[in-house]
Amino acid sequence: MSTTTTRAHAASAASAASAPRTPRRGSAHSRSETPATLMRVYQLLLTALVLGAWEILGRAGIIDTFFFSLPSAIGEAVWDWIVTGFIFPHLWITLQEALYAFIIGTGLGLVLGFLLARVRFLERLFEPFVQMFNALPRVVLAPIFLLWFGLGIESKVAFGVTLVFFIVFFNVLQGVKSVDKVLLDNARMLGATERHLIQHVVLPSALTWIFSSLHISVGFAIVGAVVGEYLGAAAGVGYVIAQAQGVFDTEGVFAGMFILMIVVLFVDLGVNRIERYLLRWRPVPGA
């Protein structure tokens, strides 16, 4: 099975969440490698170095703080947003939008992917249309969704759904179609009905494909929410960033970016956990 390879359809222009994950280190080849804790120290040093250089160059006037702000000022802005509680309602809105987009997009992708994979006629009928909509740069849909659904969270959810849907859809389509024939035959010989086949063989097999695209679809759900907010909204982190940009508040823009970054990082860690649990039956690569 080729479940470890990145899916073809999945990531083209994705978010940070879809960056290729570093393979977990096996214990076998740790002899010449830097220990993980030491590597953490190096990483912290590198961060301090970059931020420190940025700060010094900014204060010395070599970097224009109007465009690049100062790390200390950005940190202050973030801190301010957190202690005053200003950012939390916005963050909550963004996460809600992402969550709904994720659930609806995944649901639709699952159902339609499954249907098209099982019914050859439908697959052939819809193929060109699916390709067309997938080829469409999704950002251009945002204005029309704003017109249809207004400035509230519905338009962002709709936008996120169009992003998430295709990832899940293609993975399910591929997953269902690439079920190992021997597994199906074996289950049939053991007395499986069509329903049994789907329950014990087809769905679990397709789920591995869906889970392996989980990172990407979660990332896309958040991208959808933020970009949607940025283009027109009354609340949300994307809205906050757009507002800051509108008044040339570079610190605000950077602070919004920073907060999103941290949040997505935590979401990704959560996804990692879920994935590890659900795919626990899979061999660990390199083990």
Partner: protein
């Protein structure tokens, strides 16, 4: 499904079975042509032949996974329509569900037949003890060795108490030692189980050592039965020593003489 009521009716009977495939170029290709095969209940029959001679096709027709293009496949007197409900199948490849534990894999057949979860698990544990995997019920297939996976497959196939066992080179991927151990275990379980076995192999030693009858298929395409040999070696057999038995040596020489011709034909066809 007792086997006494049908002791004189063949467990599997193929009557002049032919399987034709349509090639992508629109032509046709005969995998097997006019195969006759009769397997009585309680008999262990091996099918040997050169590679590509349609051995698996024969098994698939008996299993009902493939319908013959011509001729008829019958099982206990009834035509095989769809999957043969009285047969279990052990595939050459790994056919365990990788997302299920050993226990869940073994109990799957019972669960799908509507047996309660607890009861199915208890029966599965009994079978795992029988194949020596009691301590591995919570493992996933990838955590097992090749031999352990085969044992799990045996338990999975036998737990539903089939009247027929179809085995497609089940041990071909194993190393020689593991293979002999597995063959011994298979004979132990099969002995006096009253089940009919069709065993496919390209290993003539294995075929003679295990079987009551060895059926030799010709080189493909359009392969057919060229000869049958009754293996009258007494049972129970000690597989570790049987290869030195003079009758074994005699049978081996006789069958190999014929098989060699077919193998030579296969290579000649490939070279041409």
């Amino acid at each position: 499904m007792t086997s006494t009521e049908t002791a004189h009716v063949p467990a599997v009977q193929l009557d002049a079975c032919t399987k034709e495939f349509v090639t992508p170029q629109g032509g046709s290709y005969f995998a097997v042509k006019g195969i006759d095969l009769t397997v009585m209940p309680g008999k262990f029959v091996s099918i040997v032949g050169p590679t590509g001679c349609g051995k698996s096709t024969v098994l698939n027709m008996a299993a009902g996974l493939m319908a013959p293009s011509e001729g008829e496949a019958r099982s206990f007197g009834a035509p095989v329509v769809g999957v043969n409900r009285r047969a279990s199948y052990m595939f050459q490849q790994d056919a365990l569900l990788p997302w299920k534990t050993v226990l869940d894999n073994v109990s799957l057949g019972l669960i799908m037949r509507g047996v309660g979860k607890k009861e199915a698990a208890a029966e599965a544990r009994r079978w795992l003890a029988k194949v020596g995997l009691s301590n591995f019920e919570d493992r996933y297939p990838h955590q097992l060795s090749g031999g352990m996976r085969k044992r799990t497959s045996i338990a999975q196939a036998w737990i539903v108490n089939p009247d027929i066992l179809l085995m497609d080179e089940p041990f071909s991927a194993l190393d020689v030692q593991t293979r002999q151990i597995m063959e011994n275990e298979l004979l132990d379980i099969w002995q006096e189980s009253g089940k009919a076995v069709i065993f496919i192999t390209h290993d003539l030693d294995e075929a003679i050592a295990l079987s009551d009858e060895v059926v030799l298929l010709s080189a493909g395409p359009a392969s057919h039965v060229v000869a049958r040999y009754d293996i009258t070696l007494p049972r129970p057999r000690n597989l570790l020593e049987i290869r030195d038995d003079p009758r074994f040596v005699e049978l081996h020489r006789e069958i190999w003489g014929r098989l060699r011709d077919e193998v030579a034909k296969t290579y000649a066809a490939k070279a041409a």
